[in-house]
């Protein structure tokens, strides 16, 4: 049997809309299979994964805490990937943003005013953007593949953070445990409804950034420029747009938002600079970006879905003893299915059985 792709005359509006949902369903089916293979009751496991974490108010807060960084990073990545620049080092930019933002409370613990937090957020954005500028500079100046350089910088950032948290920035009063001092209240991103749960303002920041970036992509020349240069660079240059500037724009925006997410995580959920501040948000956000169809608003919904896999992993481990590592498998599968289903937007798939080349069934 082989399969043949037949180009649709026009993009399928139907599959544009349902392809992410189709991918979710397929991921659930795969999950069913995996849990069966692991010898766990699949229905109960899926329930533990995807329903239980949503049953109480405080859990929704946890979901928002996890979703905030994913959304913020993915919004930047959506623009970046749309422009055909491949920043896969958001994890590193997240870390550097967390570090630069933390400079304020760690180096100037006395600076406790209304401005403390805004300065930290700004520094976080700048730090992430500066980290993103490195692959952009290497790509434009030296023609270096940005995928590899941005990824390599993740390892460098992780080691740098490790060094800081164990060395220079270690809390002297912390009994030799790695990690900085705990941030003072003025340097913390506060909780939105402290009476219901611990979600901090990061999620608001994330949704706000998604809306702003969506507006830019939808209505402003800059968004038009991203779409043109990303889709056909030569036509973009013919339109008078600079692909060099676009590389920088894409990396500064995605790096900056990743950095903002980093400091929001440190100042919000964690409250101090630790030797690790991310359970792989920067990589999971790649999945979020694609699941959201590279649309900033789509990234909001997709961010909550991915956040759920994190929570579900913890929940299923507690209630069924399923490894929380399964969450990572779900995330990887999800991206696979999203990419596969996206093919249906541009192509019909025809299955061909036997040698004669006679079409047997047609789908889509």
């Amino acid at each position: 049997m082989r399969l043949e792709l037949i180009k649709r005359p026009q993009k399928s509006a139907l599959y544009s809309a349902i392809s992410p949902l189709l991918a979710l369903v397929l991921t659930l089916l795969a999950g069913f299979l995996i849990f069966s293979l692991l010898g766990k009751p699949p229905v109960a496991a899926l329930h533990a994964y995807f329903i239980e974490p949503l049953s109480e108010a405080w859990q929704l807060h946890e979901l928002a805490i996890k979703a905030a960084p994913l959304i913020m990073i993915a919004v930047g990545l959506s623009v970046c990937y749309r422009s055909n620049n491949w920043n896969i080092g958001a994890e590193g930019q997240f870390i550097i943003g967390g570090i630069t933002g933390s400079l304020v409370p760690i180096l100037f613990p006395q600076f406790q005013t209304l401005f403390t937090l805004p300065v930290m957020l700004l520094l976080g954005f700048i730090g992430g953007a500066a980290m993103g500028a490195i692959p952009a500079l290497l790509k434009t100046r030296f023609n270096t593949n940005e995928i590899l350089t941005s990824l390599m910088l993740v390892y460098v950032a992780q080691l740098f953070l490790d060094w800081l948290a164990r060395g220079r920035f270690r809390d002297p009063g912390g009994n030799n445990f790695p990690g900085s001092i705990r941030f003072p209240e003025s340097a913390r991103l506060g909780e939105i409804f402290p009476s219901h749960g611990s979600a901090h303002w990061g999620i608001v920041l994330a949704i706000l950034s998604a809306i702003i970036v969506w507006f830019m992509m939808r209505f402003l020349m800059k968004g038009f420029e991203v779409k043109v240069l990303g889709g056909s660079p030569r036509a973009g240059r013919f339109g008078g747009f600079s692909s060099t500037k676009m590389v920088f724009f894409a990396f500064l925006l995605s790096g900056g938002l990743a950095g903002l997410a980093g400091i929001a995580e440190v100042a919000g959920a964690i409250g101090q600079l630790r030797e690790t501040i991310s359970p792989g948000y920067g990589f999971a956000a790649i999945i979020v970006a694609f699941l959201g169809r590279l649309n900033p608003l789509g990234a909001i919904a997709a961010g909550f879905v991915l956040a759920l896999t994190y929570l579900g992993g913890e929940a299923a481990q507690m209630s069924l003893g399923v490894s929380e590592k399964v969450a990572r498998v779900f995330q990887g599968l999800l991206l696979f299915f999203v990419l596969g289903c996206d093919t249906l937007i541009h192509y019909r798939i025809k299955f061909i059985f036997g040698e004669a080349g006679k079409p047997a069934t047609a789908k889509g």
Binding site: I6, P9, M221, F224, G231, S232, R237, G239
Partner: protein
Amino acid sequence: MQDRGNDALLLETRGLTKVFGELKACNEVDLKIAPGEIHALLGENGAGKSTLVKMLFGVLDPTEGGIYWKGEPVRIGSPGEARRHGIGMVFQHFSLFEALTASENIALVFDEKTPISQIAERARAVSVEYGLPLDPHAMVGDLSVGERQRIEIIRCLLQKPDLIILDEPTSVLTPQEANRMFDTLERLKAEGTSILYISHRLDEVKRLCDTATVLRHGKVVAHCDPRQETATTLANLMVGSDVEAVKRQASAATPGPPLIEISNLERPPATPFSIPLRGIDLTVRGGELLGIAGVAGNGQGEFFEAVSGEWRQERADTIRLNGRNCGHKNISDRRMVGAAFVPEERLGHGAAPALPLSDNLLLSRHTTDRRAMVGPLGFVRMGAVKEATQRIIREMDVRKSGEDPEAAALSGGNLQKFLIGRELDREPMVLVVDQPTWGVDAGAAARIRKALIDLARAGSAVLVISQDLDELFEISDAIAVMHDGRLSSPLPIAEASFEKIGLLMGGAEPGHQAHAHAEAHANTEGSHEPGAPI
């Protein structure tokens, strides 16, 4: 196998049909080719010629209908099978590999048993025998379009086919090179080989071919003897109605001020496989339409990028447009002084394929029409853009499906009408067009040519780069020729002839040494993969 074809024929198709989605690219085509004849396949762009021959060569599967080879019904599942039957093909857009040598390219269609050295030797023998000079060790990426075509032809001949399919072979040749190729074809015919010759150039079909099949909208509209027809009757068969020939009005009595002034334009090769520009001087005055002839790949694309500002110059006065120094200006700023540009490649250069027409309008107009189309903060005024889009669609009679379709969804001719209209709508003082009617149907081509002449007559300077000599002779006031990155001085149309222009295209003018060029390439071997054990 109940049915048989006619034994006297080499190849026959009955009711051959190919459907792409809802489009019947070929609709019940009957074709008969006798042994030892040169058979013309005529038709406009999009008439289904390419689809038909791809089915004959096994690249596409027919949806319906049958192919008979020497009287036997056959299913040609792949080009390999076609070759085994004895069918060879020379593609219009060659099926060559730039990073491989000529002999490696040829070796790819032979089986493993024949060593490459032997293949190179045979290629050399064939090239001498048929007068097709070829260096087997040259990298294809370094070769001119004509040289590449020779590799394709030799690759085809080495398989000793009974039928050779040639797809628009002269579109990349100078008239003189074309003559040499006709000699080769006559010789093959005398040896008993059949040739299926695809072209839309009627005079060469009349001269060369014994029989002709004319396609229109995927259907056979006539089988005829081209020698019994006139160019006009053939054209009418192809187009289906009388085509209004564009009448070139007399040039303006007093030429206007110089609007395009290029002095000593030089450009190093941008990529390893591109052509450097060497000392180009050119002046085009208001009211003048200047044509630039030349075989593809002689620097036209590089020249276009230099004039448009996609590639900028070191000196500001190297290029002056509409009286202003533009060498340092980018494409948007050059548009701001009143220049407009239409590149050769429509999808991916002149237009973004996946974006709707309105976005594609904005693409080249966002700076010149900033006041109307872009608001504060770069807010796009989609209403104004859509209105202008509809105006151009009306003005140029762009046929489309849907209100604002993606550029890729339009036919070549309609998209080109839109892209030309997009620029004409601004009433530019300077218009530079590369291949204005390439792959465009006759109706749209006539309309586009008329629009270009009208713009020149209204006082603008129009520069048309084209490989189509007929077109240039039809519309230009003067013709210059580009060869190997150099531009000849323009010949006024009254003094120009196919013969003269053809010689220039071959590099005949002093200083244009075509053969020195080819030999220079022959010496570049060794700088690449030491792959072939030759």
